[in-house]
């Protein structure tokens, strides 16, 4: 069974992102056979250089035909893995998908064109990546043909980007690769036009990325979804968000702050002595008294390390409603199965998600498709985790009258 790895491709469309994606799909034989043939036939008329316009059209068509669920995912395979490129046509879409979407990127590809080099664009891309806490980064410097495959130029851009990333508190990239996506130089094929480069091709570099650790090895997080009474027994039901749960395990409920012991894991039609992240299960506790005070919204965790239990929540929020958010407004927050009412204390670094411009560092409202760092004071405690650690308890929605108006992630 092959590994899967999901990464985001960040970069301005003019810098050749579409062509790069087309190239990756074509070189790895990841297009349907008739599309592969189309690209091949087009290449015959193009001096042997494949034309990737077809590929992007095909992807667009797929995207349109697909039902809402898997929005912007592009698949390709190498010998080692199945890759998913989480793509988005624009920044707005990208930010929204990343914050509200389900799939978490395990790495990012940052694309920069060699002749244009570091621009404001790149600055903002770096900011976005830091926002989302993506740790593994591959930098790809494209269109090397337009700068005559000049090593100096490559080294200069590499230095500039690394410095800029540092400014955002990001780690240096795993590698920086000079490529030409149209000609395929250093994408799958080792280029013979850049002898001064002795690093890996992009495909090799991708194969070097580490997949995110499996959720089942993470911290235990079981958000209580409901409590059923069956034949005199009380059963806590829910889906294990993270970690592994075993019969006899000692757990602690947050925000309640109570400990308990798992008597057994209940599943219909089977017996289980262990459950892993992702499974929907029932839990019966050892002591009847342990059920005191437990309700939907509590999260069962391992005894240590303790999760964060928040009363004041500072998080990145993407607003998605025509009616703007106002400072001091009261709004509902729902994280996993927990729901609390919050007051909006501060709206900081209000940003236009299309241009990535900061509109105001300290704002009074937040409009549709804008992103900001919100400080929310809740009327209760919420058990949360940094988004990179546990996605379920690291993300939340904001609601007005039971309508979802925003999505947010905690750092």
């Amino acid at each position: 069974m092959r590994d899967h790895l999901k990464f985001v491709a960040v970069g301005h469309v003019d810098h050749g992102k579409s062509t790069l994606i087309g190239r990756l799909l074509y070189d790895t034989n990841s297009l349907p056979p008739d599309k592969m043939d189309e690209v091949r036939m087009a290449s015959e008329e193009n001096d042997g250089v494949p034309e990737f316009a077809f590929v992007m059209d095909h992807l667009e068509e797929e995207r349109r035909n697909r039902v809402t669920i898997d929005t912007a995912q592009i698949f390709f395979k190498t010998a080692k893995r199945e890759y998913v490129i989480i793509d988005a046509p624009g920044h707005k879409q990208f930010l929204k998908n990343m914050i509200t979407g389900s799939t978490q990127a395990e790495a990012a590809l940052l694309l920069v064109a060699a002749e244009e080099g570091l621009q404001e664009q790149t600055h903002r891309h770096a900011y976005m990546l830091s926002l989302l806490g993506i740790r593994q980064l591959l930098i790809v410097i494209n269109k090397m043909d337009l700068v005559n495959y000049d090593q100096q130029r490559f080294e200069q851009i590499k230095k500039d980007i690394t410095k800029r990333l540092e400014e955002f508190g990001m780690e240096p990239p795993l590698m920086t690769i000079p490529i030409v996506s149209t000609l395929g130089e250093n994408v799958a094929r080792r280029s013979d036009k850049m002898d001064w480069y002795d690093g890996m091709t992009l495909l090799e570099g991708l194969d070097q990325l580490q997949p995110a650790p499996s959720a089942q090895n993470g911290r235990l997080r079981f958000p209580v979804q409901d409590i059923y009474e069956l034949e005199g027994e009380k059963v806590l039901v829910g889906r294990l968000a993270s970690g592994t749960l075993r019969n006899g395990q000692d757990i602690m409920f947050h925000p309640l702050g109570k400990t308990a012991t798992v008597d057994y894991i209940k599943v219909f039609g089977a017996s289980k002595d262990q459950a892993i992240a992702g499974e929907s299960i029932g839990i019966v506790l050892k002591n009847k008294n342990a059920m005191q005070g437990l309700a939907r919204g509590e999260v069962a965790c391992d005894l240590s390390p303790s999760p964060h239990v928040h009363n004041t929540i500072v998080a990145t929020v993407f607003w998605m409603n025509g009616e703007p958010l106002h400072k001091n407004e009261t709004i509902d927050l729902k994280c996993a199965t927990r729901q609390v009412s919050c007051k909006v204390k501060k709206i900081t670094d209000r940003m236009n998600s299309s241009t990535l411009e900061i509109i105001a560092t300290d704002a009074n409202d937040l409009h549709d498709t804008e992103v900001a760092k919100l400080t929310l004071k809740a009327d209760g405690y919420v058990c949360m985790d940094p988004f990179e650690s546990v996605a379920e308890t690291g993300r939340f929605v904001l609601m007005r009258d039971n309508d979802t108006v925003a999505g947010g992630i905690l750092h």
Binding site: V67, T68, S102, D226, R239, I276, K334, A391
Partner: protein, 265 residues
């Protein structure tokens, strides 16, 4: 956890969410493979004791095998079976000459009758994502809902389809626990769990029903798939596109010519 485990867990999660929010819940059971799978999942979600009714919309034109199956399994599974029909329309002799009219009268109206009678505020339906295009016209999405279509896999289903019908009708919420499943997933799950399925799905005399509903509107397709394994095999090979088939023919011609020249044929 393999793909089926993941789908199963998500669906159970969605079902339990629906029950938490809407106590007057009912599940629509058409006796077909999708809704029967959903009923199976609902049983799992509630540990065998389903606390709400299974609603069967009876057009009276269903296959006799379906009625038999329904009665047998609602008993076996201890389901609270509610059968609803548009008696008025049937008495007036409604048949399928005009297909759309028939479906509206016998199905949609019957559903409204049931909702009015029992006060259901939410319904579980076994609609799958790869059927979405066909069923689209039965649902109404507000534009805002469309925008916030979150991935069911990792998020609680914040947004369920709001079926806002005409003024005189009741508003209710529709929940789709099977949205992330494909037809192939359903069959693989049926095989894995050994879920009982009506025999109409299996080939007899070179034909089988790919979907079942009323005898008047359902037509069989050519097939030799007599077992679930055959079915899965058939689905897996027909999903590899026809486009690949044409390309293969060209290649085969080339290969044949070459082998002939070399004396291998």
């Amino acid at each position: 956890m393999d793909k089926l485990d993941e789908l199963e867990s998500q669906s159970i999660y969605i079902i339990r969410e629906a029950y938490y929010h809407y106590k007057k819940l009912a599940m629509l059971w058409s006796i077909g493979k999708d809704s029967s799978t959903m009923v199976w999942l609902v049983r799992k979600a509630f540990f065998g004791k389903v606390p709400f009714p299974a609603l069967h919309i009876d057009t009276s034109y269903k296959f006799p095998q379906m009625y038999k199956f329904r009665d047998e399994y609602s008993r076996k599974w201890g389901l609270d079976l509610v059968i609803t029909r548009n008696e008025k329309a049937l008495a007036a002799g409604m048949t399928c000459e005009k297909k759309l009219e028939c479906c509206t009268a016998l199905k949609t109206e019957a559903l409204k009758i049931a909702i009015a009678k029992h006060g259901f505020d939410a319904l579980l339906l076994g609609i799958r994502r790869d059927e979405h295009g066909i069923r689209a016209k039965e649902r109404v999405f507000s534009p805002r809902d469309e925008e916030f279509k979150w991935n069911y896999q990792d998020q609680p289903p914040e947004l369920w389809d709001q079926f806002k019908s005409q003024a005189e009708e009741q508003t209710h919420i529709r929940v789709h626990p099977l949205l992330g499943w494909t037809e192939l997933d359903i069959w693989k799950y049926i095989r894995r769990e050994q879920i009982p399925i009506t025999e109409l799905y299996f080939a007899k005399n070179g034909k089988r029903y790919r979907s079942i509903g009323c005898t008047t509107c359902c037509n069989p397709v050519d097939s030799n798939a007599a077992t679930i394994d055959d079915m899965i095999n058939e689905l897996e090979t027909t999903t590899t596109s026809e486009r690949a088939g044409r390309a293969q023919d060209k290649e085969d011609t080339y290969t044949m010519q070459k082998l002939r020249a070399l004396g291998y044929m």
